[in-house]
């Protein structure tokens, strides 16, 4: 059981590492929003799942630890509802203010 917990939390940290690198290196506001919205939510869900399994294993499946497990599951549900909504709100706001998209072409030449 300990192995499963360590694997889950390490996987969550790996995805969050991807989010952090994406936030630093991606060129445009829209692309950074992709990195933030998806990587953040998934890594949170995996890490919290690992913590929930750990606490249930530590408490020897008693009533109190089942309650804490259910509370942690409800946090995962709330993050799944709230965080993508916030990402949608960001991209909507960015589009409304007319933020330009990054393109791969050089500035000088434009296609006729």
């Amino acid at each position: 059981m300990n192995i499963i917990i360590i694997v889950l939390i390490s996987l969550g940290l790996f995805f969050f590492f991807g989010t952090a690198v994406g936030m630093l290196r991606l060129p445009d506001f829209y692309t950074r929003s992709h990195a933030a919205g998806k990587g953040d939510t998934l890594s949170t869900a995996l890490i919290l799942l690992g913590c929930a399994l750990f606490i249930m294993h530590e408490g020897h499946y008693s009533g109190a630890s089942i309650l804490v497990f259910l509370k942690l599951m409800s946090i995962i549900v709330f993050v799944f509802i709230g965080s993508p909504t916030a990402s949608h709100a960001f991209i909507d706001a960015g589009y409304e203010t007319g933020e330009k998209q990054w393109s791969n072409k050089k500035q000088a030449k434009k296609k006729p």
């Binding site: 940290l13 933030a36 750990f54 606490i55 942690l72 965080s83 916030a86 960001f90």
Partner: protein
């Protein structure tokens, strides 16, 4: 096992510091808003880690639920602000 959670918490904090560089650099205000949202979500995870390290998780999980519910109110408020005020950078161009 508890030592391992301290290590995980430290790695998580180091990654949050990396995301924070974007909050410092980010040319537009919505970049900073995205970083604040990420810091909020990871604060939930850090609160649970601290609960496990202090061996009193049943106390700390209530704060984590509260954070999970309140995290995106500020994001939605700021996003609605930009729907009304249609400029992303303020006028009379001074550096942000």
């Amino acid at each position: 096992m508890i030592e391992l959670f301290k290590l995980f918490g430290f790695i998580l904090l180091a990654l949050i510091a990396l995301v924070f560089i974007r909050a410092i650099k980010g040319p537009t205000a919505i970049d900073r808003l995205i970083c604040v949202n990420i810091i909020g979500t990871k604060s939930i995870v850090l609160l649970v880690f601290m609960g496990i390290i202090f061996k009193r998780l049943d106390m700390f999980v209530d704060i984590a639920i509260g954070y999970g519910l309140l995290n995106f109110i500020a994001s939605i408020a700021a996003a609605k602000f930009y729907q009304h005020n249609k400029t992303l950078r303020p006028e009379s161009g001074d550096d942000s």
